[in-house]
């Protein structure tokens, strides 16, 4: 996936502000280039330090809005507070194909590592995907 330095910094700021809870949002764009991010509210108030959930209706609205404006949902970004930027089994169980899953490791409130992952079509695992940062 490709993303501008400015947008990536916005993602980092959003996720750092959410620390020590997990925070998440949706990435919009076209042809693998992220052009807009939509921060979402983490609905998992019961276990927000290790889970995120975007309300399906809120997500439906984001998709419809993107469709209307001619953008695509390219993927989801979320934080892993104090742990590595690798997808967990829980991430795998809930993943969708064709999306970029951008995971940011936020340690002690600082975004320290950003990695992107894509689900294999057979759902068995994620594959690492390079993140191209555009100036």
């Amino acid at each position: 996936m490709k993303i501008s330095r400015t947008l990536l910094a916005q993602i980092h700021r959003h996720l750092e502000a959410g620390y020590p809870q997990e925070a998440c949002g949706v990435m919009l764009g076209r042809d693998g280039v992220v052009t807009e991010i939509v921060p979402a509210e983490n609905q998992r108030t019961d276990s927000a330090h290790n889970r995120y959930l975007i309300d399906p209706l809120a997500y439906l609205k984001i998709e419809r809005d993107a469709d209307r404006r001619g953008w695509q949902v390219l993927g989801i970004y979320h934080s892993h507070p104090d742990v590595a930027a690798r997808p967990s089994q829980f991430d795998l169980d809930h993943a969708l194909p064709c999306f970029s899953y951008l995971i940011v490791s936020v340690c002690r409130g600082k975004a320290v590592d950003t990695q992107s992952w894509r689900l294999r079509d057979d759902r068995t695992q994620f594959d690492h995907e390079p993140v191209d940062i555009l100036d």
């Binding site: 998440c24 975007i54 590595a84 690798r86 967990s88 809930h94 969708l96 340690c107 695992q125």
Partner: protein
């Protein structure tokens, strides 16, 4: 008018990029069936193996969630159905359970509690945590001591050995008065003295393919502190199958290594790194090659550190990374261990789905077991010996009867200074390929080392060079010292 289903962006690749699909039917279940018939590739992502909608797939009819009424919800022409993924994910903590601390424990763990990364939550997780240590030797000793001190609530220990004098140089859980005691008893006494509230679960057994899953299944994580390949592969495979993190450590001479194997958390497993064991005997054990005692503390505590991090769910685990320590240069180097997609146990299409015979997998027969399976000398009687083996009792009889044979000692020169069986010809194993012609072909050769492992390799080498009359002394000079000549020191 037809019924339309809106497809989420992520799944449009499976509907020829259509965002809406026209379907027919009178219930949600009908229209979903129709949709999957038109676009069968959707099935894998919408439904689980049992054919049920995946738990993150929501269906809305005219923006109403049908969860209450289920798939039998009626639909009619003109309805708009939307399939909406509930976007979810998150970290998989190794431990979610927490156990309340008493006031005494709050005092005891105050230096942890004031660390924001540990805090009450982390300390309560430590108390709820159940950790299984495989072995209570060099690595198991510091691990058990520090994990107990750190407040881990339950520690299980798999160990069948008794404390030997040669353990005391590095196995700091055991003291001189403990020599001869079962290690589990010695461990329980020390650990209970540190923390009387510790739930210590002794497993007085050898871990095998028959009991490994049963032993491991109730623990949250496993720490492998063993010194042999069959157990290492066994523990790895069992942990992968049970989705338990395996904190690995190993030591040899002046070096140590550590890593965390946890494919279910996104990392590799031991087999991703080493798909196959080295040929038996190529990597000597600590009993053969020696080990600097203090290294056990360094590597064991790196393992303890990783275990604590996994339990409290903080920090960057040593996953996908191998840390290698060199005591002589005093360097730590880090190597990447990539996850192998074709790994036979944690890969895409695993070929090993149940535990196998690990002794056979590692090419270890009876005669060689002593050389690769760590510190214990199996007391071998003649009926348990391999065809090329003789017992120390037989060797004694042959010597007493004045039989004509050559006793060959294939240990290293340093070891000749520790002990010897008088009259032996000294020919260190590494020199054997260059010097074997010094040995007579027409006489019986009886080969020994410390415990029987290296001499077994010498025997098979000599046989491959055409020597027909060669025997291996099972148990080596240590068995000789134990059962024949108490004046010879054991080491």
């Amino acid at each position: 008018m037809a019924i339309t289903i809106t497809i989420p962006t992520a799944l449009r690749r499976f509907t020829d990029n259509q965002s809406q699909v026209a379907v027919t039917g009178t219930t949600v279940s009908d229209v979903l069936r129709d949709l999957l018939q038109k676009h069968p590739l959707l099935r894998q992502h919408l439904c689980d193996e049992a054919g049920k909608l995946r738990n993150f797939v929501r269906v809305y009819v005219n923006d109403e969630d049908i969860r209450a009424t289920g798939e039998s919800t009626p639909v009619k022409d003109g309805d708009e159905i939307a399939i909406v993924p509930s976007i979810a994910g998150g970290i998989e903590p190794v431990i979610t359970a927490r156990a309340k601390l008493t006031n005494e424990e709050i005092k005891r763990y105050s230096r942890h509690l004031i660390l924001p990364e540990v805090g009450m939550e982390g300390q309560e997780r430590l108390k709820a945590a159940k950790v299984l240590l495989i072995g209570s030797g060099g690595l198991g000793s510091p691990l058990a001591l520090y994990l107990t001190a750190a407040g881990v609530g339950t520690i299980g220990m798999v160990e069948f050995d008794t404390v030997d004098f040669s353990n005391l140089q590095r196995q700091i859980l055991h003291f001189t008065p403990d020599v001869g005691k079962p290690k589990l008893q010695s461990a329980a006494e020390k650990l209970k003295a540190i923390n009387p509230r510790l739930n210590f679960i002794p497993h007085p057994t050898k871990i095998t393919s028959d009991n490994a899953l049963e032993l491991i299944k109730d623990y949250d994580l496993v720490i492998d502190g063993t010194d042999n390949f069959p157990t290492r592969y066994l523990v790895n495979d069992a942990c992968v199958m049970l989705k338990k993190p395996n904190v690995y450590g190993s030591i040899f001479r002046f070096e140590g290594m550590a890593s965390v194997f946890a494919p279910h958390l996104g990392g590799p497993c031991y087999r991703c790194w080493y798909p196959e064991p080295p040929p038996p005997g190529m990597v000597p054990s600590c009993a053969e090659g020696g080990v600097l005692g203090v290294i056990c503390g360094i590597i064991g505590n790196i393992q303890a550190n990783e275990a604590v991090k996994l339990i409290i769910g903080k920090g960057k685990p040593l996953m996908g990374r191998l840390l290698r320590f060199d005591a002589m240069d005093m360097t730590f180097r880090e190597y990447k261990i990539p996850k192998d997609p074709d790994c036979p146990v944690c890969g895409k299409n695993p070929t090993i789905t149940k535990l196998i015979d690990y002794l056979e997998f590692c090419g270890i027969g009876r005669g060689e077991a002593g050389g690769t399976s760590g510190d214990s000398i199996a007391a071998q009687t003649d009926e348990h010996l391999g065809p090329d083996d003789i017992s120390v009792e037989t060797l004694k009889k042959m010597r007493d009867a004045g039989e004509d044979f050559v006793l060959v000692d294939v240990r290293n020169p340093d070891e000749f200074q520790i002990s010897e069986i008088a009259g032996s010809l000294k020919l260190p194993l590494p020199d054997l390929p260059q010097r074997f012609r010094e040995l007579p072909q027409d006489k019986l050769l009886v080969v020994h080392c410390k415990m029987g492992g290296r001499s077994a390799r010498a025997v098979s080498f000599l046989k491959s060079q055409g020597y027909t009359k060669v025997k291996n002394v099972a148990g080596g000079i240590n068995a000789w010292a134990e059962r024949i000549d108490p004046n010879v020191p054991q080491y």
